[in-house]
Point group: C2
Chain length 200, copies 2
DNA sequence: ATTATTTCTTAACCTCGGTTAAGCGTCTTC
DNA sequence: GAAGACGCTTAACCGAGGTTAAGAAATAAT
C-alpha cells in the first residue's frame, strides 16, 4: 500500500526536515519508500525466533516489546506509542533471529521500510546515515538509563516515577502490562496501589 | 604524552585495520591523535557531575562504571577490561554532566581522544564515522541484552551466568563489586555461594 | 440482556534477599 | 612487627514481593 502523506504524524516529517535539513525532494523520496502496514490489537509485528526484516515507524496506536523468561513470564522491555520506532534493531542489524516479541496493544498503523530500501536511500541521501547514528546513539543511552533505573530504584519507586513522568501510559496500557514493565506481578502492583491510597 | 605504538593492544589496531580497512597512513594519523593517560588503582577517570570530555580506550587494567542511588548504594553498570572503551558516551555526546563514576580497579593505562581531535579525524578519515556507528550500535544492543537479563533472571541465575560466561572476572574483581554488579548485597552473595557449595 | 472472557483486586502463606552486627583472615603502611 | 584498613563470611531477624487461590469488576460476545 502506498503512503498517503496527509496521514503522517508531523513529527515524522519534522525529524527529517527540521532536524536533519532534508530537502523536499529528499523527504518525498524517503517517504515513497515506506509501506503502510496495519496490525490488529493483540496481533504481533514480530515474534521471537523471527528475523526483524524492517524498521517500523509507529504512526498510530501503541505496542509492547517483551521477552519471555524460562518460567514463562512475559517481561516488558518498553512500550511504544506514536512517533516511536518498533522492531528489534539488533536482529535487524545482525540478521539473527530476535528474542523479542512486539505486540499491538491497540490497533496500530506502521510505516515500514526494508533493509534493501533503506540501503538504497542511504546512497541517495547521505544525511540518512547521520540520522541513523543519531537514533542509535539515543537508543543506546536510553537503555543505559533504563538499566540504571532498574538497578537503583525499588519497584515502588519505579511505579511512582512512571506515574509522575509518563502518566499518559496509565490511560492506554492495562495494569497487568505496567506490572510486567515494572518487573513485578500484577497482584503486587495491586497491593502497592492500595497501600499508596491508604497512606500516601 | 605521546603514544608508543609497540605497547598498544593489538586488538586496537585490528579493529581499525582489519575490520574497517584503515590504511597504514590512516591508522598512524589516528593513533597520533590519542594521548596516553594513567589512572592509579582506586582513582577515578570520571565522577558524577563532570562532563565526559574524551573517549578512552582501555589498553591495560580494569575499571568499573557505577552510579550511586539515593540510599548511597553503589550500583555497578558494567566492568571494563583491556580492549574496552571507558567513559560516559551519553555525557560525551550531549556534553551534559554525567551521573556515572568510572573508577580504576587495577592500575589502568588509557588511550584517550578528545572530541575536537575526533571531529578533526572524522573529516580526514571518513571510515571513522562507520566505525563509530558500529560501536554505538553494538553498545546499544548490548545494554538492551543486559536489561533483558536483569528483567528475566534471578540473582542466583545472574551469578551462575556470570560464572559460566565470564569466569575471568572472578580472577580480577573483588566479590563485593561482583555483588554490586549482580545488584545484591555482598552478604547475600556470600550466602548464595555457600548454599551452592553445599547443594550444587 | 445474558453469558463468557478478560482484567483487577484481596487475602494467607512463604521465600528470598536486605539489614544489622560481629568475627576473621589478609594486605598495607608506618 | 604492630595497627589499621580492607575484604569476606556467618548468623538472626525482618519485610517486600512472589505464589496460590478465589472473587469482584469491567469488557466483549452471543
Amino acid at each position: 500500500m502506498s503512503v498517503i502523506a496527509e496521514n503522517i504524524n508531523p513529527n515524522f516529517r519534522d525529524l527529517f526536515k527540521d532536524k536533519f535539513y532534508f530537502t523536499n525532494n529528499e523527504y518525498e523520496l524517503l517517504l515513497s519508500h515506506f509501506q503502510i502496514k496495519h496490525i490488529r490489537k493483540r496481533d504481533y509485528y514480530l515474534k521471537a525466533g523471527e528475523v526483524c526484516k524492517a524498521k517500523a515507524y509507529l504512526n498510530k496506536g501503541c505496542a509492547r516489546n517483551f521477552v519471555v523468561d524460562e518460567r514463562g513470564h512475559e517481561r516488558i522491555l518498553f512500550f511504544a506509542f506514536e512517533d516511536w520506532w518498533l522492531g528489534d534493531f539488533d536482529s535487524y542489524y545482525t540478521e539473527k533471529p530476535s528474542t523479542n516479541y512486539v505486540q499491538a496493544i491497540e490497533d496500530c498503523e506502521l510505516l515500514t521500510i526494508s533493509k534493501e530500501n533503506f540501503s538504497f536511500l542511504e546512497e541517495r541521501i547521505p544525511k540518512l546515515k547521520q540520522w541513523y547514528t543519531y537514533k542509535v546513539t539515543r537508543s543506546a543511552s536510553a537503555s543505559l538509563k533504563r538499566m540504571e533505573e532498574m538497578k537503583t530504584l525499588t519497584p515502588k519507586e519505579r511505579y511512582l516515577n512512571l506515574l509522575e513522568k509518563h502518566p499518559h501510559i496509565f490511560q492506554r496500557i492495562p495494569l497487568q502490562y505496567i506490572a510486567a514493565f515494572l518487573n513485578i506481578e500484577p497482584q503486587s502492583l495491586s497491593r502497592m496501589r492500595k497501600q499508596l491510597i491508604e497512606k500516601p
